[in-house]
Symmetry: none
Subunit: 228 residues, 2 copies
DNA sequence: TTCGTATTTTACAATTCCTTAACAAGGTTA
DNA sequence: TAACCTTGTTAAGGAATTGTAAAATACGAA
């Protein structure tokens, strides 16, 4: 899943926290939604179906613990990861939080780096669940081990550099389908990045060298496809 | 859908931005409409039903966030993609923007290449929805695999060059229908392109050669049709 | 930092595809 | 029939796109 498709709901009554945490998560590329109290948390969670909810414990209207319980009642949010924000010294809330169905907690004061890496760790859990299906993809003589960034071709193991691996993975998601250059740039490089006109070709060339010329077909004026 | 049929509404209070961004999008072939504030954004969106709306966040009268919320209330604009323009440092608006129902954001300063590739990527999303038209079309002995840019004729696989493939695809969308030369030029070449009078004939000839003379019927003074 | 690898750019070469030009072959109209 | 119009055919030139090797740059680990 693409980072920008990951939705995080952030709920805290302090605007400062919303801004700082929101900023850090946004700049990591996540889609961030915010709420200011438990009521809003439940509303917005229903609306946006976030993958991760970060809940402050102490809030007016409805506190984090109660909000968490309500959220856990929603069947469509069963996959959602919920984590608390707790002030130091509120440690009791950890206990109550886990009882309420939280997955983790983050303690204030928040250090951006810690926050981000914690969020990444939590989301990794998410990927384990949904990405479990295609961690290994087989096409003809080729086996792609997504988690390990390696492949085997006719049993022979090949380690590919990241970009090459991602390009191959993309093409291999739909063998036969022609991926347009635009689409490849978007999916492998991300559309913020501007690269020169020969970059894709060079990577294709490397793949042809390593995996076999015939596996990659050029469709002039359009793009490339992977053929079995 | 043809590029020139895609409508983009661009809203910003700075004439410079309108000009630069508008120019870049126009030269890509899109139809561009502009507005200078949120009020105009809503008006023009209702009027033109654009496929994509690019909204500056900071604007007089009605800011981008509010405009976005108003736009999202319009049922006929539910398929419309909305993206924000944010100045660097305004990053918090990303957060509020997603809450308001935006799909993406583009940060200033705007690099034309990034802009264009981002717009393309967003519009691809649009096509995924409506372009759910069959990836495989069968007519008699002929099977057209649109995604793969290839066809089979009586089981025999043929790879066609792009223009030939597109021409065939067009004619095959409605077997029996006569496509006027104008229409063919518009759909396959895009009517901003000017080509000589024999170009279509030559491509038809190639198709006749590869697929069968009888499949393509000339209607003199009008155009061509594909017959089963 | 320094080294080694990965990635991108550059600068041509090679290739394919598209278009054109020129003429032929019909067909239509006056 | 002659003049005119449209389409068919061919081959060749040129435009556009891709392939390749090598150099330059960026990146990451030690």
């Amino acid at each position: 899943m693409n980072k920008k498709d990951i939705k995080i709901l952030l709920v805290d009554d302090e605007p400062d926290i919303l801004e700082i945490v929101g900023y850090n998560l946004s700049s990591e590329g996540y889609q961030v939604f915010t709420g200011e109290n438990g009521v809003e948390a439940v509303e917005k969670a229903k609306k946006h179906k976030p993958h991760l909810i970060i809940l402050d414990v102490m809030m007016p209207e409805m506190d984090g613990i109660e909000a968490c319980e309500r959220l856990r009642e929603q069947p469509e949010l069963s996959e959602t990861i919920i984590t608390f924000l707790t002030a130091r010294g509120e440690d009791y809330s950890q206990v109550a939080g886990f009882d309420a169905g939280a997955d983790d907690y983050i303690s204030k004061p928040i250090k951006p780096k810690v926050l981000v890496s914690k969020v990444k760790a939590l989301l990794r859990r998410l990927k384990d669940v949904e990405g479990a299906t295609d961690a290994v993809v087989k096409i003809g003589d080729l086996v792609i081990y997504k988690e390990e960034y390696k492949i085997t071709n006719k049993g022979e193991e090949i380690t590919l550099p990241r970009k090459e691996f991602e390009l191959l993975s993309l093409l291999a998601t739909k063998p036969g389908k022609v991926f347009k250059r635009d689409e490849i740039l978007d999916k492998v490089w991300g559309n913020e990045v501007v690269v020169g006109g020969r970059t894709i070709d060079v990577h294709i060339r490397k793949l042809r060298e390593k995996i076999g010329d015939k596996s990659f077909k050029t469709v002039k004026g359009v793009g490339y496809k992977f053929v079995d």
